[in-house]
């Protein structure tokens, strides 16, 4: 079942085309991730889906509703965590949850969310005195207050330290595991790869690819690399005859074997036959950054 249907979405700001022509569907219960560089049109797309922006062209249905016409009903049923949002500086954590509860017809007890998101000790802290991670957790808690069927998370982990990011990722999976549909917007490819059931890669206002992370990487047909440290008396160039190997490169003591298929297994077998047992045998596979590079000719970081 499609929770979101977007067809031929277009949005211009003056002479700038923020979204050119975007279509996709989001299925119930998945983590659908929209990735792309800053300014690709990700936020404009999701803000059109939420009904915060009016598209110039295209049709959008969310939970069977029109985000422009059925704004009130839609807001009751979805949860939103936004970029560049804030609460009043001196509003306390519990006051925010209590206040936002009063906006919805149906809510879960906010004390439970306070606990679920590790904010119980911060319940009397002013918003401005929270850390970046605590603020984000509070915003996620606010987005879950109405027990939404569909949750939007926009650049959730920007500005968080690695530990807080990992914890947040676990939490996002927990939201999905409750049966909710999650739309995650990010410019971090590792985050998309980690969390997404399906990924839409957006570049310059268009969807350039849409699939599962695994399929996107597989379709790249990129070669796998196996690395290890050389042994004395063993010439790694012998590995060129192993099935699937296309290249063997030596960089000082490092050996890099490139190839396709079950490369690691074949290389390891070949090494074992020569009684070579490196302890640092590693396999490196293509990732979403490589996918983006292959699709757009540019690195996502630039």
């Amino acid at each position: 079942m499609n929770v979101i249907e977007v067809q031929n979405l277009r949005k211009e700001y003056g002479r700038t085309i923020a979204v050119d022509n975007i279509s996709f569907n989001v299925q119930q219960g998945e983590i659908f991730t929209i990735v792309g560089p800053n300014g690709a049109g990700k936020s404009t797309t999701v803000e059109s889906i939420m009904g915060l922006r009016q598209p110039d062209q295209g049709t959008i249905r969310v939970l069977g509703l029109d985000p422009q016409k059925d704004e009130q009903e839609l807001r009751q049923r979805i949860g939103i965590q936004l970029q560049e949002a804030a609460l009043p500086d001196r509003l306390k954590v519990w006051e925010a949850l209590n206040l936002y509860s009063s906006f919805y017809e149906k809510t879960v007890p906010w004390e439970k969310l306070l606990n679920d998101w590790g904010l119980t000790e911060k319940r009397n802290t002013h918003f401005k005195n929270l850390s970046g991670g605590q603020k984000q957790r509070l915003f996620v808690a606010l987005a879950l207050l109405n027990d939404p069927e569909l949750v939007f998370l926009d650049e959730l982990t920007t500005g968080l330290d690695p530990q807080a990011r990992r914890a947040t990722w676990d939490a996002v999976r927990a939201i999905r595991d409750q049966g909710k549909t999650v739309v995650l917007v990010t410019h971090f490819m590792d985050e998309a790869e980690e969390l997404a059931d399906r990924i839409a890669i957006i570049d310059q206002g268009n969807v350039v690819a849409l699939d599962t992370p695994g399929a996107l990487i597989q379709n790249l047909h990129a070669e796998t690399r196996v690395r290890f440290t050389t042994y004395n008396g063993y010439d790694p160039q012998q590995l060129r005859t192993v099935a699937g190997v296309t290249d063997v490169e030596q960089r000082g003591k490092q050996v890099i074997v490139q190839g396709n298929g079950a490369l690691l297994a074949h290389v390891a077998t070949a090494l074992a036959e020569h009684n070579v047992t490196p302890t640092d045998l590693r396999v490196e596979q293509a990732n979403l950054e490589d996918v983006f590079l292959a699709l757009t000719g540019r690195s996502i970081r630039n």
Binding site: L52, Q72, R75, L82, A86, P88, S102
Partner: protein, 245 residues
Amino acid sequence: MNALRKMTWVEFKLTIREPIATFFTLVFPVLILFLFGSIYGNEPSEFLGGRGNVDNSVPGYIAMVIATTGMMSLPIGLATYRELGVLRRYRATPLRPLTLLGARIIVHTLISVIGSAVLLMAGVLVYDMALPVNIPAIIVAFLLGNVGFLAVGFLLASVLPSANTATAVGMALLYPMLFLSGAGLPREILPDNLVAIGNFLPLTHVVDLLKDVWYSNTWSVTPIAVIVGMTLVAGAVSVRMFRWE
């Protein structure tokens, strides 16, 4: 209704937690009352039409409270919320704009009521000031002026892009008005040309209405028409111009 109640309570607590912001509304007018009270006392004066200085000034000081709330507290508060992204977050909920507006109106009115009550108590207790001839009538006049200036405040909040511009524009409009309208200084001491300019200022009409009702429960058409007109125009424009972000 629940949302309005909670929003009002939260906004009230937030106001209390930023005491500096309400200092000028609540304390400044009282300081002026004591300053001029200590200089001129409250003896009846022919120059002031037979009234004492304090009797003659307090309705104007109350108008000052109303104008400061409307032209400073309200637009700066809303512009700050917009700048920080507080309004953007509210917009992502089913909260209706009127609920936020209603809560703000209640809280700002309450602050103005407190400011006016403090002035009234200081005037009566320290200078034996004459009370208004009709208490319900002066409350109605107060609320009318208050709504007029809150509408102006919403207009400023709607058209001004940031908290800094709201502060600058609010001050630039408010301060000359305080001197020319009879709110901060008796207009009796102003030269004719400044009195003439003052006739075009909305605050002058709030001062006039408050004084008329305070001393004799007189309701003149001109101030009422000006305040009602100002409320309708500012209200209509701000509803059209208001932006969440």
